[in-house]
Subunit: 340 residues, 2 copies
């Protein structure tokens, strides 16, 4: 199998502020994996929070050059089975694993002439609505963003900074829509207890990662007392985490760049169901390749937050669409993604 | 904990014919499980196909009289964990396990003041449409049944008898609705290969258990060649079966009376997701107690066939409703079922 990696540098429509900082430019890597004349597409969007960078992606790609012999099923095994060569080599490179894994699913689908959702046992008519993210910003900018989010039926507001409840009130009043919040570990337990109660009274649907993933006792206590649903995000990386942390939240947020692709995401979904946890599918700022890969799994989950491509000023690819707020999967084989 | 068992004998609105025979009268047992003044409701609907009868239910109930000490969590463990006393004693009495398990979930929910779907991590707005079953019958009766099924958006037609394709054509032409079929093991491999192709061409959505669960090689071959989705029903009883038979169909039909209640159903759903199988939730002819218990899980699955209560002439209970063809869960704690 031949791998070519294409670096991309893309800007977002608006600067993108969360509790941990601001970004306007994003670097991702498009993987083109060729097997017997068919090309599978994947994408790595490395996240510094999870210990990756454009440099670590480049290093990892150099390292795996000699490990790509075999058919898609063999490489999926090497990438995802315990002790597999690719899995061991890429242990700390989850975005690279994600890129390879989705390229291999794209290949599998294209070789069989079937969309990935069909290979995954996911019913395409059951896709959920997706939320659209409103970053932290000045009031006037928030207002403009809320208005620009007209096509989306659910708004996700980044909180965890001073003045966040005022932002929430403003978004609710202006949009009249269902609102979810993401604190990105921005509170401590005491604040979170008060905030989740206040948010619940305002009709907010759920809160992602209110406090640090390191404060496991705090998360357990919060799950016991919060009237608002708590979705773990930073707490959940690999399969196994849902089981281990099932008493720390009501649900988990799965992102391909955190867990390493479609295959481990399937395992996490199964694990969440086993431990009676809700499931959200999220993403980073990514092109339509990675967002469409996640969307292939979306009929299997409760909540989708798949707007990473919508935040880009100029996405070079197209795949999943949002129609009346709902994810609509492309019908083409594999991921069904094409270059614009 | 105190258990009282109330026998019920109910008739269906129409005689109910499938490939294996006809029934018009059904015997079920309502379980009233009292813990600290709170009553949990369960139901056993024994199926001769799975080796149970009203007599085996009575015998099993007599046998477990001394095993019901403890709180709901302790009894759920005794009922569902490997080596548990109730589980061992009731190994061959799945409908009795199902009745106890759902009564314990009802109790858990009532004691915590939460609906079961919340305890299960299931999002109530994500319930699927349910199909409504049209049994095998004379043409004029089929026509009347199709007309009477106006409130339902998906029809499930029992096939596997001579003349079944004619019935399908008739139902499709008269209803204009999405149609699923259930052959209840009524074909052999050769017939099934032809029938699934013909059904696919007619736009039928899926076929349940086309051939005997004992013909495992036939099912494997059919999965390889059928353009129509194959859902395993009689093949799938306990957790473990989805993994073992994942190459024999595209999905599985889970019924509480087959697997032994909500708890093993959760395990089967997780297992199906792990092995990339679709999931249907089905039922027997049951009152609203057992059908509502299954419906609590329905946001987690792809297809619902939860019409067992709708086929009864006079269901003494009410719980889940069907509105515009979609399951609507009751908001009350536990199962949310009340006596009419």
């Amino acid at each position: 199998m031949k791998l070519e990696v294409e670096p991309l540098r893309l800007v977002s429509s608006h600067p993108f502020q969360i509790a941990r900082g601001t970004r306007a430019e994003f670097e991702m890597f498009i993987f083109h994996l060729t097997f017997e004349g068919t090309i599978g597409l994947g994408e790595a969007a490395p996240q510094s929070y999870y210990g990756e960078s454009p440099d670590t992606v480049r290093e990892a790609v150099d390292e795996i050059g000699g490990m790509l012999d075999g058919d898609p099923d063999q490489l999926l095994a090497s990438l995802n089975e315990a002790g597999g060569e690719l899995r061991e080599t890429l242990a700390d490179h989850t975005s690279v694993r994600a890129a390879l894994d989705m390229a291999l699913w794209d290949l599998r689908g294209k070789l069989e002439g079937k969309p990935c959702y069909e290979l995954l046992g996911a019913e395409p008519s059951n896709t959920p609505l997706t939320s659209f993210t409103i970053g932290i910003d000045k009031r006037e900018v928030i207002d403009r963003k809320v208005d620009a989010a007209a096509p989306y039926k659910i708004l996700k507001v980044k909180v965890g900074v001073p003045g966040d409840m005022e932002i929430i009130d403003r978004v609710i009043a202006r949009s009249g829509k269902k609102v979810r919040v993401d604190a990105n570990e921005g509170w401590d337990l005491e604040m979170a207890i008060g905030k989740t109660r206040d948010l619940f009274e305002r009709g907010v649907e759920l809160c992602e990662q209110p406090i640090s993933h390191e404060d496991e006792e705090g998360l357990r206590e919060l799950k016991r007392v919060s009237p608002l649903e708590i979705i773990l995000d930073e707490s959940i990386i690999n399969p196994g985490d849902a089981e281990e942390k099932s008493d720390q939240g009501h649900g988990i947020n799965i992102k391909l760049m955190k867990c390493g692709g479609i295959s481990p995401a399937v395992d996490l979904i199964a694990e969440a169901r086993r431990y009676e946890l809700k499931v959200m599918l999220g993403c980073m700022v990514e092109t339509s390749i990675a967002v469409t890969a996640a969307a292939q799994l979306s009929p299997l989950v409760d909540y989708a937050d798949l707007d990473g491509n919508l935040l880009l000023a100029d996405d070079p690819f197209e795949g999943v669409k949002v129609i009346d707020g709902k994810l609509v999967l492309p019908s083409g084989p594999g991921l069904g993604v094409t270059r614009k």
